[in-house]
Amino acid sequence: MALALDPLIHQPVRLRIMTVLHALGPEQEVEFTTLRDMLGVTDGNLGSHLRKLEEAGYVRTHKTFVLRRPRTYIAVTGLGLNAYQTYLMALERLLRPPEPRPTAP
């Protein structure tokens, strides 16, 4: 079965976001400015990519206060985990060399 590459995840910055969140796992969340610094992007750039991922249900964000400062935390959802794993599988399958066809005797 041919797996399609999810265009939402294929975009380079969103791929990095999803990779980081996948590596942290759904039980952990990362703070917005930390993710921004890790990826080396601007606030606006990260915000717009996160909005797209959130609209697709791949990530969830929540705002809270830590040491009296407002912070936004981001975590991957179950749907996002599945989408990311499917994307990686599709990528690996597309890169796999075609299997040699059996030759007639």
Partner: protein, 194 residues
Amino acid sequence: MPQDAAPAELQRRLAEATAWTRRTRRHWRHRGVAYVFWLWGAIWSIGYGGLFVWGEGPRAAWLWLILWALGGMGTAAVYLRYGWRVRAVRTDRQDRPAFWPLNLLFMALMFVVRPPHSMYRDGTVVALWILWAYAVLGWQVGRPFYTRWAVVMAGLTVAGFGLLPQRPFYLWMAVVGGLTWLAGGVYQRRGREA
């Protein structure tokens, strides 16, 4: 469509995903706890090493006081650097059936080494109390590694306490206890689990 992209570009994407996964696990997934483990591994080794070399007395007591202060400051520094950046999604796992039996087990272990009226016993009680806290913490933040590690450490501590005379017990705690802390940090930093 993305699947029509050149193989070189797809290869680049895959390599990037692999590299970012490794980087995230190494630097962030453990939330700095790996460094706390290394810090306390060093403290246990030095503190119990001091007890082994000098025996009980003011010198060892002062050493422990200084080490506790450094450990507290170091742990706070790690939290300020890492703790709020990546954190566990809040979970309440106190309804798990093993939570209370585990608490009782640690309390029972502390009673085994009672009454605490010497550095030998007091130190072991404190060590078990710290391990108990790690075990409970593992439950509460959904990190089974902390719980498993704390149970192993408690087993080693009680085994050393029960089987060894006082002075060799300090050496046991310095070497085996310290190394188990350090190994816990290495394990987490490899991204196996935080």
